[in-house]
């Protein structure tokens, strides 16, 4: 069986190194972008987009979410609306 697992494993070994490269580049991009003289809003939005994108990459490839059953995706998505609800609602206060 190990041999089979071998071949199987090699077949689908996810593109770990590529993702690594992407993460690295995006981190550099972020640092660069952060020091551009743009209006704060643009900086914030741009940086958040990049950060979330990176986070998604980690979840999909390093945490293998991409190869997990869809129902796990649903499970994992549960807290996300709650996060948004809390922060957005309270922000309207101040």
């Amino acid at each position: 069986m190990t041999t089979e697992a071998h071949t199987q494993g090699e077949h689908h070994d996810p593109p770990y190194m590529i993702i690594f490269g992407v993460l690295l580049v995006m981190t550099l991009a972020e640092v660069g972008y952060a020091f551009l003289s743009l209006p704060k809003v643009w900086l914030a939005v741009g940086l958040c987009v990049m950060a979330i994108w990176k986070a998604i990459l980690v979840a999909l490839y390093y945490m293998h979410l991409r190869w997990e059953p869809p129902r796990l995706w649903v499970l994992v998505a549960v807290p996300l609306p709650l996060v948004v609800i809390l922060i957005v609602a309270v922000l309207t206060e101040f």
Binding site: G9, E30, Y33, A34, L43
Partner: protein, 233 residues
């Protein structure tokens, strides 16, 4: 993917077949995911507080690089990302039953993880002596530039105080609890490494490695967010 590869052989990496089909992943993996969801909420309360307080009192917070040392932390971020790669490498290795690879990559992960914590400790120390502290009463951060200028900090003392108490409080709470998570992760990794030495993991059953991997990547993921909103925005 691989779990399907193994599913054929009915090994430990798939759910117990005697039960009604559930999540289609084995219990401990499901448990770890569920636990990570609660971690998401925990960090939400801390990061949310930061976002809200910063939004309510922008004057308390400094622009990137003024108080915090972005270059240093950028390196640290780089480290943490590396440690994620070494971690998946360890996982990929044991999937193929490669014991040596497993141990080497685990060791690498531990070393890099420890380095991250170490650098963070150094960062804290310097920041603290620059007057950037959580306690509202003692807060008197005056910004890196001023410090580099005034050697003995004498000139620094005259420079205007940057930001306010909320800055220190939120900064240390968020990064501190992240650091704690990394440290716990390192300890667990050491534990896993020891078991790996004993050869407890095989291509058919390497749940321990996968679990600690999930946790480790999650901590990395949190840092990606933290680094952006704390150091760069």
């Amino acid at each position: 993917m691989t779990s399907h590869a193994h599913a054929v052989h009915g090994d430990m990496m798939v759910p117990d077949q005697t039960f009604e089909p559930g999540m289609r992943i084995y219990n401990m993996k499901l448990g770890m995911w569920v636990f990570l969801l609660s971690e998401v909420m925990f960090f939400t309360s801390l990061i949310g507080t930061y976002i809200i307080l910063r939004f309510a009192h922008p004057d308390h917070f400094a622009d990137p690089g003024v108080v915090l040392n972005v270059t240093l932390t950028a390196f640290n971020t780089f480290f943490l990302i590396c440690s994620s790669v070494t971690m998946v490498k360890a996982f990929a290795a044991i999937q193929k039953g490669d014991q040596k690879g497993l141990k080497l990559w685990l060791l690498a992960t531990i070393v890099i993880g420890a380095a991250f914590v170490g650098i963070q400790a150094v960062e804290y120390a310097t920041l603290a002596e620059e007057g950037f502290v959580p306690a509202a009463a003692e807060y008197h951060a005056v910004g890196r530039a001023a410090h580099e200028a005034g050697a003995a900090g004498a000139a620094g003392a005259e420079a205007p105080i940057v930001g306010g108490p909320l800055y220190g409080a939120t900064f240390y709470t968020m990064t501190g609890f992240h650091g704690a998570h990394v440290s716990i992760g390192v300890l667990c990794l050491i534990f896993v490494l020891i078991r790996a030495m004993r050869g407890s993991y095989t291509a058919a059953d390497h749940r321990g490695v996968e679990l600690i991997g999930l946790y480790w990547h999650f901590v990395d993921l949190v840092w990606i967010i933290l680094f952006t909103i704390v150091y760069l925005i």
